[in-house]
């Protein structure tokens, strides 16, 4: 049967479904559902980390292997620096740009190095929005409580409190830089409601929120003439005798040579790990999202937090094949888009938290109420035409231009036909443990954005990552810059690597894997 025939069940059942209200699951039901169906609870996908700061802790096999991997740098490598700076920012996404701009603004001599181009990151792809409590009926406290509930009460309270309280001033900063957030008629910021939130709190720029913010931040980094190293992949950090971070070694992706950078402090803003395709999941992530910062920080002795939990965004495209894993923004569900199984039934409150909605979609598919494509993929329908039916013709086109265009390129009009979706690997809930200044347990090593952990607990609420990376990008930049005057450049050594290798040897680790991965191996080996 072709897609149009299978879509009919959605069209036929629409009028009946529109009248239905699906209550949210009780906390006990949520727990049961998640434990049974969420990929985080598939024991076979996990293993213990054998050595290092998180020895004995569990994470997915793909990540554990990289964390235990060896460096490509030899012990006798030449560490003569080609560049010296006060603050070295590694990563050119939202957190990296925010960190670089604030450190530069505070007078530090900054160098921003990034694996691909400036701006290449998951940040640029963020569609749904940025959570900031600006509405009169909302407050930072409510934002805190919603996030805590969404994170299964495991969020670091201090990190979370700092983030929600600094949100409004971040919005002001972005507005002053020229970011065009959607407005109400009276000029106030327009807010939308996101999954798991009790109040409308999402600041949006159409469905291009990340793109709009990143266009502006990138432009500002260039306007401020902050020195850049592009196509430079970080492959090792440097440390002094006390184990404090003092710089990094990069691989120039053009000529494969090493570039050594001496820095008084280093801010890792390297993003997440979607491109490891853990448990075989497709991903919504950027090509460069291979978790490099986690491996680098771990070898340096930084402790990781919550790295056994990942976010599977409920709605990744399953059809057409060209869009596999790409996001179908949560905004569609926030505006009333319904999830429908092969029988034409709704099965979850679409605005429940992401882990609950993802688990329920997986349940439908595992119990035979999914729709299978010829490529063997399974999904459920997201009733996108419902938005036009509910709010008037043209709603989908007006509110979701990016999505319309994405599907239109492959001949699908999402305002007329529902789309097929299944959870896609979207976000790394945990990461390197940081304090409220974004610093790790390794002195002068800061981590900001998705590579850091603790803030989101076991599940991130929609829109909290854009705020996370702005707040902790800023705090890392300001803290690092604030230390410059009172510090000397530390020695450039690989002593942490000697320690790590000795530890690995003691635990019999002979995996032969080199980390970080740098880029995913998609290129077919043509014999």
């Amino acid at each position: 049967m072709d897609i149009h025939a299978l879509q009919q069940i959605v069209h036929k059942t629409r009028d009946d479904r529109r009248k239905q209200t699906i209550p949210k699951f009780s906390p006990a039901d949520c727990d049961q559902l998640i434990h049974r169906y969420h990929p985080d609870f598939r024991a076979s996908a996990y293993r213990s980390i054998r050595f290092g700061p998180n020895e004995g802790g569990k994470t997915v096999v793909e990540l554990a292997t990289l964390l235990e991997g060896d460096s490509s740098i030899q012990g006798n490598a030449d560490l003569t620096p080609q560049y010296s700076c006060d603050v070295l920012v590694i990563g050119g996404g939202g957190a990296g740009c925010a960190a670089a701009l604030h450190a530069h603004g505070a007078g530090a001599n900054v160098l921003l190095a990034t694996k691909l181009r400036l701006g290449d990151s998951n940040s640029v792809m963020a569609q749904g929005g940025m959570q900031i409590s600006v509405a009169p009926e909302d407050s930072p406290v409510t934002h805190f409580l919603d996030t805590l509930k969404g994170g299964h009460m495991e969020n670091d309270h201090a990190l979370l409190k700092t983030m929600v309280e600094e949100g409004p001033s971040i919005a002001k900063w972005l507005l002053e830089l020229g970011v065009l957030f959607d407005r109400q008629a009276d000029g106030n910021l327009h807010v939308k409601k996101g999954g798991g939130s009790s109040k409308p709190r999402l600041l949006t720029c159409s469905d291009y929120t990340g793109l709009e913010i990143m266009r502006v931040l990138k432009d500002e980094v260039i306007n401020q003439k902050i020195p850049l190293l592009e196509f430079a992949a970080a492959i090792e950090l440097l440390s002094d005798d006390e184990g404090n971070c003092t710089g990094a070694i990069f691989k120039d992706l053009d000529n494969q040579r090493h570039v050594v950078v001496a820095a008084k402090s280093v801010i890792l803003a390297t993003g997440g790990i979607g491109r490891l395709h853990i448990q075989g999941f497709p991903t919504s992530n950027h090509y460069g999202a291979t978790g490099d910062g986690l491996c680098l920080a771990y070898r340096m002795g930084a402790k990781l937090d919550h790295i056994d939990t990942f976010q599977y965004h409920p709605s990744g495209a399953v059809y057409p094949e060209q869009l596999i894993g790409q996001l179908v923004t949560e905004g569609i569900r926030s505006e009333g888009g319904q999830l429908v199984n092969a029988k034409g039934e709704r099965f979850v409150n679409e605005l429940d938290t992401r882990d609950v909605v993802s688990s329920s979609i997986i349940r439908e598919c595992e119990e035979g109420r999914g729709i299978r494509t010829m490529s063997g993929r399974v999904g459920v329908w997201l009733d996108t035409p419902l938005l036009d039916a509910e709010h008037g013709p043209g709603t989908v086109e007006k509110h979701f231009p990016a999505m319309m265009l994405q599907f239109e390129r492959f001949g699908i009009d999402i305002s007329k036909d529902p789309v097929l979706i299944y959870p896609t690997l979207h976000y790394q809930n945990g990461g390197v443990k940081i304090d409220t200044n974004s610093e790790t347990n390794v002195k002068n090593l800061f981590v900001a954005g998705e590579a850091s952990g603790g803030l989101h607990g076991r599940n991130r609420l929609m829109g909290n990552s854009l705020l996370d990376l702005m707040v902790y990008g800023k705090r890392s930049g300001l803290t690092a810059a604030g230390r410059v005057g009172s510090m000397k450049q530390g020695q450039l050594t690989l002593k942490h690597l000697q320690r790590f290798r000795a530890d690995a040897k003691k635990h019999g680790n002979v995996s032969g894997v080199i980390s970080p991965m740098i880029l995913p191996a998609y290129t077919r080996k043509v014999s």
């Binding site: 805590l148 830089l177 065009l180 910021l189 059809y319 094949e321 119990e367 231009p401 880029l519 077919r524």
Partner: protein, 236 residues
């Protein structure tokens, strides 16, 4: 899987891929029909470092020129958002040496006039429409350039919200304008100088600075785990 076999979506190109012959930067290769241009390069054994980014149509890294069989017209696309077809020929666009003006956005005194100092070529648009035809995001780029010149910054900022900065509009411009960079300046100026300040935001910032939420924080942060969980459950 216990599933009704009629619940299938017909995608023969995936199950039994029909191979097509395409030309990548002048070299003929056979790849499965319907895969994206980027995936076709991977399939052909080509490592892509420059020219690959978000893979979702948002970052503009994969600007590509292509031509289809029997059509002399060279067109543009984002390589991650275009399916290959038999006889197609393509090559990626290297980073184009467009000039980006630098400025202090907040210090601008007369942003509409400053456009002519920062990008003096903008009024030289000769209305040829090549930029609009080159835009993979379907933006009416030419119209945007004219609106920028006439000071309608608000319209430009709305029209270019979809711009992924792929830069495909720039090499085709006979007046040497970089429309995407002009639009970026105009959008930022619109946001920073011509958009009403949201009063509610200032109010909230002041509330936080004045410690209006301090009592609530004191209460919450003293709670036991159980009390806090119960309290969270009451938030509706």
């Amino acid at each position: 899987m216990a599933q009704d076999d009629t619940n299938l979506i017909d995608q023969p190109e995936v199950m039994k891929p029909r191979m097509v012959t395409i030309e990548i930067a002048g070299k003929k290769v056979d790849v499965p029909e319907g895969i994206t241009v980027v995936k076709a390069m991977w399939y052909a054994g080509i490592d892509v470092v420059r020219g690959v980014g978000c893979l979702g149509g948002f970052c503009g890294a994969c600007a590509t020129y292509y031509r289809t069989k029997d059509d002399p017209k060279v067109r543009t696309c984002l390589a991650c958002q275009m399916a290959v077809q038999d006889g197609m020929s393509f090559t990626m666009m290297p980073s184009f040496p467009a000039r980006k003006a630098t400025y202090d956005i907040q210090a601008l005194k007369d942003p509409k006039q400053d456009l002519f100092n920062l990008y003096p070529e903008t009024p030289l648009c000769r209305n040829c429409n090549a930029c609009t035809e080159a835009c993979p995001q379907k933006i009416d780029v030419r119209e945007g350039v004219w609106k920028a010149v006439f000071g309608d910054f608000k319209s430009v900022s709305e029209m270019f919200m979809d711009c992924v900065m792929c830069g495909m509009c720039t090499p085709v411009c006979i007046a040497d304008i970089a429309p995407n960079l002009v639009a970026l300046y105009v959008s930022r100026a619109q946001g920073a100088h011509f958009t009403k300040k949201p009063i509610g935001l200032d109010t909230r910032i002041k509330e936080i600075q004045d410690g209006q939420y301090q009592d609530a924080w004191n209460t919450i942060l003293k709670m036991s785990e159980k009390e806090l969980a119960d309290h969270c459950a009451t938030v509706k």
